[in-house]
Symmetry: C2
Subunit: 715 residues, 2 copies
């Protein structure tokens, strides 16, 4: 929240976010025009045609009257207060115009004009300049290079789109203006209504976070859909969406993948955690449903807009033909919906009026000669079953089929019961009139059964998200003074990479178990420590003068008993004396060796918009070849930690598959908690990788055996 | 091919498959009626309305004239030859009517009537009876309980569907009559034409294999689409499709999954190889493209119907708006299409006429103010680039957009160049006239960019399949006498299960390596054999009187040296003498122990329709938890074997990932070859499982270490 001053300035008199963009009492049209084909003409026409009831002030230095309205030569000439300015004059004139508007009390401006960032460096300069002027004047900007804004409740069409959509409860926000025009055109033909419609343009000031917040507050908006290409304020995006999605469903397309976001935390994380994974993870973590296609956006929008949410995931399928019924059933596999199992009394009821050739179990096939009344009785019987949470009704146009009457019967049932009904009237020409009727009665219809089932699946998904209580972010205490000092020391002289022993020391200081070691000045002590740790152990020469211990024969691993320890100790001493005769030898380091556990990888790569993207998986082949990893963005909740662990397929190797003992899941969780906290506390930590992290049996602990960090060093 | 007599009987005079169903010179309508609402009325009306030019013989005992045509009281009264009978009388009268038709030279009958298998056991009896009569009379049957047949070239509409589709090159075959009506209705509104349209009904005689063969032979059909729920002749299906798909694309929906097909070969195979996997595998093996939804069927049908195949997979995307261009690019990830990289001269050309704000690289954004001429010049420039194999053209309806003119420009370009062009004019009302024009000019249009890209991907997929030479099935020689004798002996007394040592002996006889063993009558011999095999080895007591050797302490595994061998030998002797004092001991079996390789699983589960479904994967967690397995249906080609091995993700563990030595891939292949042959040769082998199959390093061999078979025993 970097612009608190601006933000409060953008609240209208009733305190709602950006309210003057949607519910202004007066609009100044800077650059209104009487010349058809000009944007200034289209917008003036749209705003008057749509029946906006507030004051309209066209501004054009060359006109005295436009569309029967008094036209002002400049904003300065306007007598009253300006709530909203819609600006479509060449970029270089805009700063001045904004100043004039501000002097008339204007705090909100839609910059329709193009010619800014999108045309190159000079445009970007103009955009920055405009933003500075606006900020100083206390004016929030939408755009530039955008289509504008629609609020159907206020009859406000401040866009140059061709036509005004019907009023409805869908809020739409898009980073692509052209997509807006396509979606409006589609809405005209499909009985779809919008509450608010927003084109973001270049996002010089207002972005998707602001607008989704505003749509979230708007009472007439009950579902939010949108198209975004990128998010610059990732944290705010997540925080806002976490709140909004608990009130209303949000379905977004995020297109493209930013290469810049694909920086690598480790060789593993790097190859897999591109920023698209960050988006996917962020969306899931804050309850945004991600649509992969525009079709899916539409399918969801209509379902959420028209129908109540299901109380559970049990779906009944009703059809007048076997094939489509089977296809609908098949489609359920890809969703969180499940086939309802009817109560015995429901089946008895169905048997009492359906022909014997019908199928009484889900999917219910009322066969090809079904009239509307058979559809209606069946729908009512199914809706009365408390084990049914919703219905998908399929219709194929057969000889006896009553298309319009069936549409009416479905609409009637939908009025009586508070369970969602979705339909697929298959075909186009013959079923067209039925589909129109369904649309008018707010029954979502889909050309194909699979899409109806998919939309129900999304409703189930949302209902389950909405009902889940929000968990709070984990906070872990650890001796930060100590890690602070270490990291400062290790990253002195501009070295961002911290690895091996040093990285492990940081983790240990933060509370993560690492293999223990002690310095033994002689053989006797070494044996003592070895017994203390338990064999096998590792011996390393202890000398301030030898940095690459392995290179001089100063390391021996896998020492299994006292005899081997004696041999190893002596060999190390001989080797080091011979190879580095000048070195002072303080004896050996006796290192605990972690054996017999499961190797895991725990990494972090800082996403430029969302922050620390944590990755978890089993080590080696599971991460490298099977790509069996899970992601979350820190800070984490306990649910996130459970998700990280249980979303990997190979989790059964940790919980005790194939006769193995369960591993120390509590220890894994604690390690993840600490890592989450570290990545939050150290914003300059851009990469982190614990590999391997070894989980021993339950209660035996989890050890970081090797690790590395990468810090961004400012100097 | 179980009905060679019938099959030849169904060829028309020009020798084409089932030709009289599509190109009859005379049609008898058994049960024609003058009563609207009756099927006999609808079909008579359809056949006359469509303008069928052959002879039409209505048959109805109560009429002398129908629709101005002479009506016959029975088929016996018809003077001329009957090529095709369309039958819509009650089931019990049909056998007699078929006999009469046959006596008039009729060899083909469409049974429209319902009331057969679909209504229960009595109907099933009637269906069997009808089939017997028809077979005896040499009449091929389509149906019963079907919608009928359309051949647009012959103006033949022998269905009771509402309306006749436009002529075109799409052949459609469906097991669901209701889906036919929906698809016809959809075709009316979308400029889609069909060559032939077939409803299969109950498939008493003619099934999808026959009909796909017939559509394959039909010159006017250039793409085959269909809906099936099951296949009874799996082998013939695969053989036929393998031929047909090399001539024209075939896209099928297979809905539902048969539980009966999900029998388990092993605990692994069983849980994973349901018959849906068999379908998926069969489709891929014979080049059928599987559609998951009706929408996908449509999307593919239009693309293949209208446009030429691409020569390669390089796609150019052209758009007047950034967002949709990005979405189209994103969608390519799920296909085999790739983004084209333009030649430098193409980019120069684009720069010469596009505005500077355009994007000249793929996706090409000609920006929002693009008129039709800019679309046209860009399309032409892209089509002239030999590194471009096809184009997806996107259009959003913006202020300056010339919708119809752009549709014309695209159509013009499509006439000049032989590369596929697909479009997505986004929206509905405003873009409607453009979409109509595109349809008329055979440019497939999709509501959304993703679907256009998906359809291009299918074209690439098909082109690549069509170009791949057909490999021949592998045949392997092995001493079949020997395996024959063994299997007979092991499965005596009605025991179908053969496991452990016995199963390994069968595999060894067939040429698969198994751990070797020799019988040593004394300690000295045992040591000699152990040296021969190399340590470690396994010792087992050799006694005809001891069957469960482990239970009496008669087995010792992992014997690493001569000392251990001595101890083990003595212990075995002591144990056995004590536990089974009466047993005659012949010394010990010295078994080779296979260590250090990769464990794999090779299984087979015989699918009821398609035959031996071979499964391959790495053992243990890879198959059980990661489900990382591959499938093929035997008999296999060398390509299939490569596929089995290289389709598993964990193949890198076999080819030498992470610094390991590559395993004996040639040995794995040879083992799969032999297994394929065994499953073909032993049709009563319903399950087989080699687990583990161990692959040593390259050149060191592949060993079956444990195995089991399950044979169906007839007595």
């Amino acid at each position: 929240m970097k612009q608190p001053g601006n933000r409060s300035a953008s609240r209208g008199q009733n305190g709602k976010m950006l309210d003057n963009f949607f519910r202004p009492e007066s609009v100044a049209l800077i650059g209104a025009s009487s010349t058809p084909g000009k944007v200034g003409f289209d917008i003036l026409k749209n705003i008057t045609d749509a029946g906006f009831r507030g004051k309209i002030y066209p501004v054009n230095p060359k006109s005295d009257e436009l569309f029967g309205l008094k036209c002002y030569h400049s904003a300065n000439d306007i007598e009253g207060k300006i709530d909203l300015a819609v600006v479509m004059i060449p970029p270089k004139f805009i700063p001045d115009a904004l100043g004039q508007c501000a002097s008339k009390g204007c705090d909100s401006a839609i910059i329709i004009s193009a010619g800014f960032k999108e045309v190159g460096p000079e445009g970007a300069r103009l955009e920055r300049e405009m933003r500075t002027v606006a900020k100083k004047a206390g004016v929030r900007l939408l755009g530039p290079n955008c289509l504008g804004v629609i609020d159907t409740d206020m009859h406000l069409n401040a866009t140059f789109a061709a036509g005004m959509p019907a009023a409805g409860n869908i809020g739409f926000v898009s980073q692509s203006g052209a997509l807006c025009t396509a979606i409006l055109d589609w809405s005209f033909a499909n009985s779809i209504g919008f509450s608010r419609f927003v084109s973001l343009g270049n996002k010089a000031d207002i972005d998707e976070v602001d607008m989704i917040e505003a749509l979230g507050e708007d009472e007439r908006t009950s579902v939010i859909v949108g198209y975004i290409e990128g998010v610059s304020r990732g944290r705010e995006f997540m925080e806002t969406l976490l709140r909004v999605t608990k009130k209303k469903p949000v379905i977004l397309i995020k297109s493209g993948t930013s290469e810049a976001g694909a920086r690598a935390a480790s060789s593993h994380t790097g190859s897999m955690a591109g920023s698209d994974i960050a988006f996917d993870t962020a969306f899931r973590q804050c309850g945004v449903m991600r649509a992969r296609t525009v079709e899916e956006i539409f399918d969801c929008a209509v379902a959420f807009s028209f129908q109540p949410l299901p109380a559970g995931n049990k779906l009944a399928i009703l059809t007048n033909a076997g094939g489509p019924g089977i296809m609908a059933t098949d489609a359920m596999d890809d969703t969180r919906a499940e086939m309802a199992r009817f109560k015995p009394e429901t089946i008895e009821k169905l048997k009492s009026f359906l022909p014997s050739a019908a199928a009484f179990y889900n999917p219910v096939d009322i066969i090809g000669d079904a009239h509307a009344d058979r559809y209606q009785s069946t729908i009512m019987a199914l809706l009365e079953d408390s084990d049914v949470d919703g219905i998908v009704v399929l219709l194929t146009p057969q000889g006896m089929t009553q298309i319009e009457e069936t549409a009416k019967a479905i609409s009637y049932a939908s009025l009586i019961h508070k369970k969602p009904i979705l339909t697929s009237f298959m075909g186009e020409e013959m079923v067209g009139s039925g589909i129109d009727l369904l649309g008018k009665n707010r029954i979502p219809n889909y050309s194909f059964p699979e899409r109806a089932v998919g939309a129900f699946g999304r409703m189930v998904e949302y209902e389950s998200w909405r009902g889940r209580p929000l968990k709070k972010n984990i906070e872990v205490e650890y001796p930060r003074d100590e890690t602070e000092k270490m990291i400062k020391r290790f990253t002195a002289h501009g070295r961002g990479a911290v690895s091996g022993e040093r990285a492990l020391r940081v983790l240990k200081a933060a509370g993560i178990k690492t293999p223990d070691y002690k310095i033994a000045e002689d053989m006797k002590k070494a044996k003592e420590f070895a017994l203390e740790f338990g064999y096998p152990i590792v011996l390393k020469v202890a000398s301030p003068d030898i940095s690459h211990k392995s290179d001089v024969g100063g390391v021996k691993v896998g020492i299994g008993d006292e005899d081997s320890l004696e041999r190893a100790y002596n060999e190390i001493m001989v080797n080091c004396r011979r190879m580095v005769p000048s070195a002072v030898l303080h004896g050996v380091e006796v290192h605990q060796m972690i054996t017999g556990g499961k190797e895991m990888v725990l990494g972090m790569s800082r996403d430029p918009s969302f922050g620390p993207l944590i990755m978890f998986g089993l080590g080696g082949i599971y991460v490298e070849i099977m790509k069996d990893v899970s992601f979350r963005i820190a800070p984490l909740t306990e649910d996130d930690i459970d998700g990280l662990i249980h979303e990997i397929k190979s989790v059964r190797l940790l919980t005790g598959a194939r006769g193995e003992k369960p591993k120390d899941i509590d220890g894994i969780k604690e390690t993840i908690r600490i890592v989450s906290q570290l990545t939050i506390d150290y914003e300059n930590m851009i990469e982190m990788d614990i590999n391997p992290l070894i989980a021993l049996d339950r209660g035996q602990g989890v050890y970081a055996v090797d690790a590395r960090f990468n810090f961004q060093i400012s100097e």
